[in-house]
Amino acid sequence: MDFQFGHLITSVLIVSGIATVLSILIVIADATIGNYGDKKITINNEKEIIVDGGQTLLSALKSEQIFIPSACGGRGSCGLCKLKIESGAGEVLPTELPFLEPSEITDNVRLCCQVKVKADLEVTVPEELFKIRQFEARCVSLVDLTADIKGLRLELSENDKIEFKAGQFIQLEVPVYDLTPEAVYRAYSIASKPDDDGFIDLEIKYVPGGICTTWVHKFLKVGDTVKFNGPYGDFYLRDTDAEMICMAVGSGMAPIKSILTHMAHRGINRKVKYFYGARKRDDLYNTELMEELEKLIPDFNFIPVLSRPEEEDNWSGKVGRLNNILPEYYETAQGMESYLCGNPDALNSYIAALKNLGLRDDEIFYDPFA
């Protein structure tokens, strides 16, 4: 996955020079041409919506409560907002080219943040995207889980409910606040279980100089209204009986916690070990919950691993990196499933270690953009 990402970025950079010049010409042309009137978008040959012409397809669909995945807020730089547009979209734009495979171009796949609705369009929206909605919630609790991770509990508006699979994420809206002139969105894994009707929990680690985490850690207050959309992602608990190896570091705890609490609540008694990496004892959190889950899920072990315990930690548990610890527990992992969450560098080393133990690519689950 990292290779693909590296390849993607390299191709992006190569084409970016030409793309930039052409995109500017397009921007100028658009600004001068102006109003397109009402346009019809036909979705999946079934539904028809009328939207204001001239806006991007991404915005037009959003205004109709159809949310297409995006990690860049429509800046044409994440490549996530791909949709098949059967007709009306015109030529592929230079800004889209770096993200589209030749086969996708042949298949009329486009970046919907780059395509403007200038004519009637026919688009194909995958069914699962219709489940994505905008939600309004109230922040009902905000606690320090560690020195730099805050736990948020969001209560949805009355009678509202989000349907998601344990492990999925939402896009949190950072509203216009003292430090941002426009709303921005950031992805956060849902830390609570799907059966917590009307609530979701998030666990957000402070990133110095970060837009969203500065807002959450320094500006957000209990009682504030918060907006988000979702759920997103292919990282969720698969419906099998396979033994599970879960691995996470830092705020990567969140989706694994969702998966484990879901298993406990639903009585899913699969054999599972959860290796959680932190630097020192103070960085560990949710340990009491994990002890509780060890009682509720018959064959579950939580294995916290510190990479650099301090003397005052008096740590008698495991020390090192998760990937190096694995062989102490498994001679082979063949036939098992693995659920991973953490920063990209950690993920790469976990994946390598799991493959060494015999796991196949399709048995290792993680969020590719994370």
Binding site: S16, T20, T95
Partner: protein, 156 residues
């Protein structure tokens, strides 16, 4: 590089709170082009190019990655910490791609001096010769980079 519409769009995206919290310009009142030209001139005086600086930053980051989130010793005498956060950031210049959120901190153990840079900063230097405006907390002064990372003119 001309003061093109591309530069104007980039300038707008560089304001605080659009792509990053504090933006990329700091308190610098110069135009984007003036900032770039001044830094490029300084680097050229040292017999180097922005691309060479970026290559050195990338090499040290890649070596430091072996530490997997802990400080790693990198020859000749650097302690390097590479930390990554899930997610991507856009380059403010239109048409570029998404850059992973990775931060590298380099401590030159001989001089005791430290410098930090993100992957986005490496990209901005490599592709746009942009070291950011004065007063930006993420500005990388080219002379400081050359000094701390001990970047030497390529004899070839």
């Amino acid at each position: 590089m001309k003061n093109t519409p591309q530069m104007k769009m980039a300038y707008e995206s560089m304001k605080p709170g659009i792509i990053t919290l504090d933006g990329f310009l700091g308190s610098d009142s110069r135009s984007l082009m003036d900032i770039i030209v001044a830094d490029e001139a300084e680097i050229a005086r040292r017999g180097l190019t922005s691309a060479e600086l970026a290559q050195n930053m990338r090499r040290i980051r890649d070596e430091g990655r072996k530490g997997e989130g802990l400080f790693e010793f990198v020859q000749p005498h650097f302690d390097v910490l590479v930390e990554s956060v899930r997610g991507v950031l856009s380059c403010p210049f239109p048409g570029c791609g998404a850059i992973k959120k990775v931060n590298t901190t380099v401590v030159n153990k001989q001089t005791g001096k430290t410098i930090s840079f993100s992957d986005l900063a490496i990209h901005l230097i490599e592709e746009h010769s942009f070291f950011q405006g004065r007063g930006s907390s993420f500005r990388l002064d080219p002379c400081e980079l050359i000094e701390i990372l001990e970047i030497k003119e390529d004899p070839h």
